[in-house]
């Protein structure tokens, strides 16, 4: 082997042992969201923090556009208020560093993480085999109570699943109801099944999101 042959082979071996890597999809999503966030922050006046301003803007736009009535079994006002909270939580979760409290694709890591944080142990299925990998979980606050939020991915898209137990008193009224709505480019699906009330939010195209919801329904 001559020196130059050696160099060629060394080069090949280096490439093999130190391959170019692909940025994970979740990272792309995070970076894209963070960049847009930073880009819009940099042109806002500074007398309020950007985040507070964004919250006020979001609340105002929701207050103006809210309408409802698809929500079966729950009063229109209650359902709309919940849908707004779910949307706000979803949007907030996409801001840098807010997506997960427990980052794991292992359902047996995510499920026990909720122990001692909420008074129920939510079902945490993984749909990686169907193209919706579990990304992690998060504690959120919706409808006046701490709730479990499960985070799933689909290519570059993030899906939030909020779920909490159906309260005994309202079960008859809520049972089996399902609904959807779209706001600001995000879709929300809602249903109750078994013991849980579900809310799903994502910017994923509606047919795919419904496909995902069907997986969740079947558990």
């Amino acid at each position: 082997m001559t020196d130059s042959q050696f160099d060629v082979r060394l080069r090949g071996a280096i490439r093999e042992q130190m391959p170019a890597l692909a940025a994970p999809d979740t990272l792309r999503q995070r970076v894209r969201a963070a960049v847009r966030d930073a880009a819009s922050e940099s042109r806002r006046p500074r007398f309020m923090t950007a985040r507070v301003k964004r919250w006020l803007a979001l609340a105002a736009s929701l207050a103006v556009v809210t309408s409802g009535g698809w929500w079966l079994g729950v009063s229109r006002a209650t359902a709309t208020a919940l849908a707004d909270q779910v949307l706000a939580s979803h949007v907030r979760s996409l801001m840098p560093g807010h997506l997960t409290d427990v980052l794991s694709s292992d359902q047996h890591t995510v499920k026990p993480w909720f122990n001692g944080k909420i008074d129920y142990s939510p079902p945490v299925p993984d749909f990686a085999g169907q193209g919706f990998p579990l990304i992690g979980g998060r504690l959120d606050y919706v409808g006046g109570r701490p709730v479990a939020a499960l985070v799933y991915g689909r290519r570059q898209h993030i899906i939030n699943v909020f779920l909490w137990p159906v309260s005994a008193g309202s079960r008859a009224g809520e049972g089996g109801g399902s609904a959807s709505r779209s706001r600001q480019g995000y879709h929300e699906l809602h249903w109750t099944s078994g013991d849980y009330t579900y809310w799903v939010a994502s910017d994923l195209a509606l047919p795919e999101l419904e496909q995902f919801a069907e997986l969740v329904r079947r558990g």
Partner: protein, 179 residues
Amino acid sequence: MDPNELERFEAVVLPHLDAAYTLARYLTHDDHAAEDVVQDAALRAVKYFSGFRGTSGADGRAWLLTIVRNTAYSALRSAPTQGVAAEVFDEEQHSASGADEDPSVDFDRQETRDRLRDALAQLPAEFREVIVLREIQDLSYQEISDITAVPVGTVMSRLSRARQRLKRELVRAGKEPVR
């Protein structure tokens, strides 16, 4: 940043996230640290984008990698347990052998590949980064010089020293009996 600038940023800089992640991952040796470095670097890039004068995709890549590299080094400096390139490359010790030895090395041998992988991981960061930029990302000496803020001559000598060190490891592997 106005929407047009954001669009330009997304077109010029964001296509290079793979390259950014590759560099960050090989500098930090850690998946999560690499992701944080890339995200921080992207945010810094947004901030400084008005000063970016490049036009081509290659310009965007070199520019982003410069920021990734600086971000990675600041992250590593602030990390409590990890030090980067704390080990000083001992040229006296390493330059003597390698070049003179018969470079007949069996690259197909598992032993050889393992040793090469370990040697790459243990290269001091300033050598590892030139290997990543040159061998993996195919950047020119000039681009590497811009990114690492050292003269082209230094880039070339670091590359050759890095290769020599790897060569020495491989020749040594070849002399050991197969287990």
